[in-house]
C-alpha cells in the first residue's frame, strides 16, 4: 500500500494558472491529511473498543450477581426462578438446555438442507439461475425475526398442535423449526463461499480422471472445503443461539428442562427479554441477567472466533 507522500513542491516561480502551490497551502493540505488520518484511526479504535466495552460492561454488572448468589448455584443450578414464592433460584442449566436444544433442532434441519443447497448452488447452478437463487436466499437472511415469530404463532403453532395431537403448539419443536429456517441462509451462503474458494484445478483434475460432477462435488470439493463448511455450521449455530423474538413468541417460555419436543422451554435470550424490564436496578436479579448476557456473549464470541479461524484455515490450505 503506497504510503502518504508529501504535498508536491514546485521549485521556482509558480506556473501561470496553477494555483495553490505556495507554502501556506501546502501546510494546510498537510494538516488536513494528518487530521483525516487521525480521525480514521480514532474511529476504528472506537469500533474495536465497542466489543471490549460490551464485554467489560457485562462482566462488571454480571459479577455483582455473585455477591448474593454463589457461582456454583448459578452455573449448575437446575432451577431458574428469581421471582419465586419462596427462595429465589438463579440456576443457568434450564436456560442453557433450552438454548442448546432449540439450536440443535435448528441445526438438524438447517445443516443437511444448507450444505446440500450450497453444493447445488456452487457446483451446478450457473449464470442468472445462480444469482437469482442466491439473492432469494440472502433476502431471507434479512427477514425480520418478529414476522417469522408471528408466522410461528398463527400458522405453525396450530399446525403442530393439530398434526401431533398435542395441546399446544408453543413448544421446543416450533422454536427449533423456525430457528432452523433462520440459520439456513447463513449456512447456505457461508458454505457456498467455502465451496467456491476450492480451486478449480481440483475439479478439473477430477473431471480429467472421469469423475462426474456429483462425485467430484462430494468426494473432492466438499472434503476440501470441510473447514469452511464447519465454519458455516458454527455461524448458523451462532445465529440460532442468539435469536430472541422468535423464541419469545413461540417457545412457551417455561424455564424447565424439557422431556419431549412438545414441552415449552426458555432460552437465555428470551429470559433476558422477559425479565430485564421488571428486575429492580441493583438487585441480584438485575445483575444475574447481565451474567446471562455474559454467558451468551462468550458463546457467540467463541463460535465466531472458531468459525473465523476455520475459514482462514481453509483458505490457507489452498495456498501452497
Amino acid at each position: 500500500m503506497p504510503t502518504s507522500c508529501e504535498p508536491a513542491e514546485v521549485s521556482g516561480t509558480p506556473l501561470p494558472g496553477v494555483a495553490g502551490t505556495g507554502q501556506p497551502r501546502r501546510r494546510s493540505r498537510r494538516l488536513t491529511d494528518k487530521s483525516a488520518g487521525a480521525l480514521f484511526l480514532v474511529s476504528s479504535l472506537l469500533s474495536a473498543v465497542v466489543l471490549l466495552g460490551i464485554l467489560l460492561f457485562l462482566l462488571h454488572y454480571g459479577v455483582r450477581t455473585f455477591s448474593e448468589v454463589p457461582v456454583t448455584r448459578f452455573l449448575f443450578g437446575t432451577t431458574w426462578n428469581p421471582d419465586a414464592y419462596g427462595e429465589p433460584a438463579f440456576g443457568l442449566i434450564p436456560l442453557l438446555v433450552g438454548s442448546f436444544l432449540t439450536t440443535l433442532i435448528a441445526l438438524v434441519i438447517a445443516v443437511p438442507l444448507g450444505i446440500a443447497s450450497a453444493i447445488l448452488i456452487s457446483e451446478r447452478l450457473k449464470g442468472w439461475v445462480r444469482i437469482t437463487t442466491k439473492t432469494l436466499v440472502e433476502l431471507f437472511a434479512g427477514f425480520p425475526s418478529v414476522v417469522l415469530g408471528f408466522f410461528g404463532l398463527v400458522v405453525l403453532a396450530p399446525f403442530i398442535a393439530h398434526l401431533f395431537h398435542v395441546p399446544s403448539g408453543l413448544n421446543l419443536l416450533n422454536a427449533g423449526v423456525l430457528l432452523g429456517f433462520m440459520s439456513l441462509p447463513t449456512i447456505i451462503s457461508v458454505s457456498d463461499d467455502a465451496l467456491r474458494v476450492v480451486p478449480h484445478s481440483y475439479r478439473e483434475a477430477a473431471y480429467a480422471l472421469g469423475a462426474t460432477p456429483w462425485t467430484t462435488a462430494f468426494q473432492i470439493v466438499l472434503p476440501a472445503a470441510r473447514s469452511g463448511i464447519l465454519a458455516a455450521v458454527m455461524l448458523g449455530f451462532g445465529r440460532a443461539v442468539g435469536e430472541t423474538m422468535v423464541v419469545l413468541m413461540v417457545a412457551g417460555n417455561a424455564a424447565i428442562i424439557p422431556h419431549s419436543l412438545f414441552d415449552p422451554i426458555r432460552t437465555i435470550t428470551s429470559t433476558i427479554a422477559i425479565e430485564l424490564g421488571e428486575s429492580a436496578f441493583g438487585s441480584a436479579h438485575y445483575y444475574s441477567l447481565f451474567a446471562l448476557g455474559c454467558v451468551l456473549f462468550i458463546i457467540a464470541l467463541g463460535t465466531n472466533l472458531v468459525a473465523e479461524s476455520l475459514i482462514k484455515r481453509e483458505r490457507r490450505s489452498f495456498t501452497l
Binding site: 504535498p7 438442507l113 443447497s117 453444493i119 439473492t135 418478529v146 443461539v241 456473549f297
Partner: protein, 297 residues
C-alpha cells in the same frame, strides 16, 4: 469376464444420469425452502391486504388501536433507523477507510478486524442489555429514540464497516498511486480517487444495514419503544412506536386479538415491503459496483 457387465457407453450414461439426477435431488430441499418463503409472503399479503390502503399508512391507530393505521410506527421505525445511521455511518466508513488505507498488517490491525467481525455475531438482545445499562441508565438518556438509535447504531456498525472495507479494498491500488504520483496527499487521493468509486459498494452496505435494522426488535425493547403514543416523536428524547414492536404487541398483548389480526398482518406487510425496498436498492447498487469492473484491466 463373463456376465452382463454394462458396456462402457451405457455405464457412462448411467453415471452421468445418476450425477444429474443426484443434483436434482439436492435441489428439492432448496426448492421447498424457496417455496416456503414465497408461500409465507403470499400468506401474509393475502391476510393483510384487506387493511392496506393509503389511510392505513398515514393514519395513527384509532379506537383502541382496532382501527386507523400505523403511521406513527412507520415514522418511528424510519426515525430510529436514521438516528442509528447518523452514528454508525460516519464512524463505520471512517473505520473502514482506516482499515483498508492506513492500517499496516500487524497484530493490532488483525485484532481490530477480528473484533469488528465478532461484533457482527453478537446477539441483538445483548446489544439491548448493553444499551439499557449504558445509554438509558449510565448516560441518563432515559427511554428515548436517541438511546434506541445509539443501541441500533452499535449493532449495525460492524455490518457497515465490513461492507465498506470490502468496497474500498476492491479499488485497485493504481487509482491511489496515480493520484499520489501527481502530488496529492494521502487523504486527497482517497477522497478524489477512491471513495467516489467505492461509493456504490459502501452504499450497498448501508442499505443492507438499514433493511436489517428496521426489522430488529430486541435492541429497542427496553430502550424507548412504546405500545402506544399518539404523537410522532418530537425530539430525540421522545418515546416512539415501531413496526416490529407493534406487530409483537398486536399479536400478544392487544385485548381484541382477533379483531386486530388483519392490522397485525398489515404491519407485517409494511415492514416486509420496507425491508424489501432497501434490499432491492442494495442489490441495484451492488450490480452497479460489481458491473463497473471496467477498471479491472
Amino acid at each position: 469376464m463373463t456376465g452382463h457387465a454394462p458396456t462402457p457407453g451405457r455405464q457412462l450414461r448411467r453415471t452421468r444420469f445418476a450425477s444429474n439426477y443426484g443434483f436434482w435431488l439436492l435441489g428439492i430441499p432448496l426448492a421447498l425452502f424457496i417455496a416456503f418463503i414465497l408461500l409465507m409472503f403470499f400468506y401474509l399479503f393475502r391476510n393483510g391486504l384487506s387493511v392496506m390502503s393509503w389511510r392505513f399508512l398515514t393514519q395513527p391507530p384509532l379506537n383502541g388501536m382496532t382501527e386507523g393505521g400505523i403511521w406513527p410506527c412507520i415514522v418511528g421505525t424510519v426515525l430510529v433507523t436514521f438516528v442509528s445511521l447518523v452514528f454508525s455511518v460516519p464512524i463505520g466508513v471512517f473505520s473502514a477507510i482506516y482499515l483498508s488505507e492506513y492500517a499496516s498488517n500487524n497484530f493490532l490491525t488483525r485484532a481490530i478486524r477480528s473484533s469488528i467481525r465478532s461484533l457482527a455475531g453478537i446477539p441483538s438482545i445483548v446489544y439491548g442489555l448493553f444499551g439499557v445499562a449504558l445509554f438509558v441508565s449510565a448516560l441518563k438518556l432515559g427511554l428515548s429514540i436517541l438511546a434506541s438509535g445509539l443501541t441500533l447504531g452499535l449493532m449495525n456498525l460492524p455490518w457497515i464497516i465490513t461492507t465498506a472495507e470490502e468496497a474500498i479494498s476492491a479499488i485497485p491500488g493504481s487509482f491511489r498511486e496515480g493520484a499520489l504520483a501527481l502530488g496529492t496527499t494521502k487523504w486527497e487521493a482517497i477522497r478524489h480517487n477512491v471513495l467516489p468509486y467505492a461509493f456504490p459498494g459502501i452504499l450497498t452496505g448501508i442499505l443492507l444495514a438499514v433493511a436489517r435494522t428496521m426489522g430488529e426488535t430486541a435492541p429497542i425493547l427496553f430502550t424507548g419503544v412504546t405500545y402506544y403514543t399518539r404523537q410522532l416523536p418530537t425530539s430525540l428524547s421522545s418515546k416512539f412506536m415501531a413496526l416490529p414492536y407493534h406487530l409483537f404487541t398486536l399479536a400478544t398483548q392487544h385485548d381484541q386479538m382477533m379483531k386486530v389480526r388483519p392490522i397485525a398482518f398489515g404491519t407485517a406487510i409494511v415492514l416486509l415491503v420496507l425491508v424489501l425496498i432497501f434490499d432491492a436498492l442494495a442489490f441495484v447498487f451492488r450490480l452497479r459496483s460489481a458491473g463497473s469492473n471496467k477498471w479491472q484491466v
